[in-house]
């Protein structure tokens, strides 16, 4: 069963007088529990695709359905609610609120969801333990390494049990060893908890980890293979 269903997506950006066709008739379906990488060179449209799936941006035409919710005709407020309850994000950089500690960063989404304080704190600590950051709950982002910061971002992305986690170049600013550790952790989350991960990447290591590889070039899907 598809947890993400995108049909005939078109997206054009206007930069002054120049029009850039970011996506052109892209269709994509991702099953629940998938571990999918969208790959392609810079400017191929993979990040745009990720933004549209996550409700950060709206397609010019086409349909996007995430966990049974169609984005068509959703207001900005409804999209915000979608992101809050159904989507987790991990970005390439600047993932965390600098003035909040690790545990507070993880709690933030649950705070917006209205989860009581005690439960928030308990769940945040547990997930930080699971991503290998036990005892570092009160550290501020500047006191954590790049890899540790990304682990906090992953913890925040999955703590509220989202339908999907979207990771945009999560290993881009990490060395290979740290990046590998991060990917292994995310794969573990995917296998143990069934969390669906969709990556946007041009990192071969990420592509190797993915069980399905969708290649996007010039705004179109040119290849889509499930690895053995």
């Amino acid at each position: 069963m598809s947890i993400v269903q995108c049909d005939h997506i078109y997206k054009t950006y206007h930069q002054g007088r120049i029009e850039v066709q970011a996506l052109s008739d892209v269709s994509l379906a991702v099953d629940k529990g998938g571990f999918v990488a969208l790959s392609g060179p810079s400017g191929s449209g993979k990040t745009t695709m990720l933004n549209i799936i996550g409700g950060l941006d709206l397609a010019d035409s086409g349909q996007v359905v995430v966990d049974g919710n169609s984005f068509e005709q959703m207001s900005q407020s409804q999209l915000a609610d979608m992101r809050l309850n159904k989507v987790g994000f991990v970005f390439q950089s600047y993932n965390l609120v600098p003035v909040l500690s690790a545990v507070e960063n993880v709690e933030f989404v649950m705070l917006l969801q209205g989860v009581p304080a005690d439960e928030r704190r308990a769940r945040a600590r547990k997930i930080l333990d699971e991503v290998g950051l036990e005892g570092k709950y009160d550290r501020r982002p500047r006191e954590l390494s790049g890899g540790q910061q990304q682990r906090v971002a992953v913890a925040r992305a999955i703590v509220a049990d989202p339908a999907i986690v979207l990771a945009d170049e999560p290993t881009a600013n990490l060395d290979s060893k740290t990046g590998q550790g991060l990917l292994e952790m995310m794969r573990q989350m995917n296998q143990a908890k069934g969390v669906t991960f969709i990556f946007s990447t041009h990192d071969e290591m990420v592509m190797d980890f993915a069980r399905r590889l969708v290649v996007i070039r010039d705004g179109q899907v040119v290849d889509d293979q499930i690895k053995g």
Binding site: L56, A80, F89, F91, V97, P98
Partner: protein, 406 residues
């Protein structure tokens, strides 16, 4: 956690926060201190006006205030005395006077003055003259030929204690009345103009000189603290026939009254002007703080925070800045006022100009609760309002625009 987030955000750049706090503190201090100074000046002017014979309320024969001639004297003041007994609240004081325009003469000089015939005992409790005698002695009952003159008048006439002064005026028979008095005491007033204008004799002496019998020019009333002159005057009017007029100090001193009303508006305008200067700083600083964090706002929006949440967050930061600035500014203002409350500010160098406005030489700043509340409300409410602009700007970026911001 939102308040905690806002609190931590304002200290991300301590130097910038300190700069804007200093601006708010100085602005609030200016409002409180200079507002208190203006209020102190107004209180001083009112106090001088009331103490310099006006009192809170005066009773006259109808028409006397417009034309203070001897023909407009109260011929039957007993009616007024009875009304006073019924209408005045406990703690009130009153005194009856003769007051006419006169000419003072000695061998060297003459000048137009106001001859005031007083009951020394009651007058001392109502007006300034009881405590103002600096040389010689105050009048007593039975002093038929003693006169009190102001220090400035004595200098002008080049005379001194014990010397003669001739007073001339028109009596009830429209004849020139004159009498020689001996300078029994010299008084000092807040203003030299007062010292040059008023000369005091006993009431019987004035009535005898002017052939007034028991007629009086005016009754001056001093009310206790908290009593309303307007309310008491209305009650007196209801008890007296139409041949009397009852006027409050605001009606007796219309220029002062108009000035005070103007000053009330001026205080508010002053607050707004100070705030406008401060407000630019608040907007500028908040805008800088917002633009530095556009990517962070993009992150928060991607997590599901709605624009309203971003606006609340930025407004919460402004709230903290305003509260801290107000607390410190008020403290500084109140300490300044307290420090000056002992000796006041000496305006002797500006004495002539100050006298023109009815002000004394020393101004003691005075904080009124109404002014303090107004100043704080102006800063707090307008401060939050101007913060709406940067907050709205922060909320308007889409997540993609904000995340792409460098």
């Amino acid at each position: 956690m939102f308040l905690s987030l806002a609190w931590r955000n304002i200290w991300r750049n301590p130097r910038r926060t300190a700069v804007i706090l200093v601006a708010i503190v100085i602005g609030v201090w200016c409002m409180v201190f200079l507002g208190a100074l203006m209020r102190g000046m107004m209180v001083e002017m009112v106090h001088n006006g009331i103490a310099t014979l006006t009192g809170h309320i005066q009773i006259h024969h109808k028409g006397y205030n417009a034309d203070p001639v001897i023909e407009n004297s109260m011929r039957d003041p007993e009616q007024a005395f009875k009304a006073l007994e019924k209408a005045l609240p406990p703690g009130s004081l009153w005194t009856a006077r003769v007051r006419v325009n006169a000419v003072a003469n000695n061998a060297r000089h003459n000048a137009g003055v106001t001859l005031v015939g007083i009951d020394p005992r009651t007058e001392a409790k109502v007006s300034f003259i009881g405590k103002a005698v600096s040389d010689g002695e105050y009048l007593k009952q039975g002093d038929d030929y003693g006169i009190l003159v102001g220090h400035a008048l004595m200098e002008k006439f080049e005379t001194r204690l014990g010397h003669k002064l001739i007073m001339m005026s028109q009596d009830t028979g429209k004849q020139i009345a004159s009498r020689a008095f001996r300078i029994q005491g010299v008084y000092r007033a807040e203003q030299r103009s007062t010292e040059k204008l008023y000369v005091f004799v006993t009431k019987p002496a004035a009535q005898a000189m002017l052939k007034m019998g028991s007629s009086l020019s005016e009754i001056s009333v001093l009310l206790p603290e908290g009593a309303s002159p307007a309310a008491v005057a209305a009650k007196l009017r209801s008890l007296l026939p139409k041949s009397f007029e009852v006027l409050t100090w605001r009606q007796l001193l219309p220029i002062l009254n108009g000035y005070l009303e103007m000053m009330d508006s001026f205080v508010v305008i002053w607050y707004v002007v100070v705030f406008v200067a401060m407000g630019f700083g608040i907007v500028n600083t908040t805008l800088m703080a917002v633009f530095e964090r556009i990517r962070e706002f993009g992150l928060l929006k991607s997590l599901g925070l709605k624009p309203g949440g971003i606006i609340k967050g930025v407004m919460a930061e402004s709230f903290f800045l305003l509260v801290i600035g107000l607390a410190l500014g008020n403290a500084l203002g109140l300490i300044s006022v307290w420090a000056l409350s002992f000796h006041g500010i000496d305006l002797s160098a500006l004495a002539q100009g100050a006298e023109y406005f009815g002000m004394g030489r020393v101004i003691i700043p005075e904080v009124h609760l109404k002014d303090l509340v107004t100043a704080n409300l102006v800063v707090f409410v307008l401060g939050l309002l101007v913060s709406l602009y940067p907050a709205a700007k922060a909320a308007r970026f889409t997540p993609v625009e904000a995340l792409g911001h460098t």
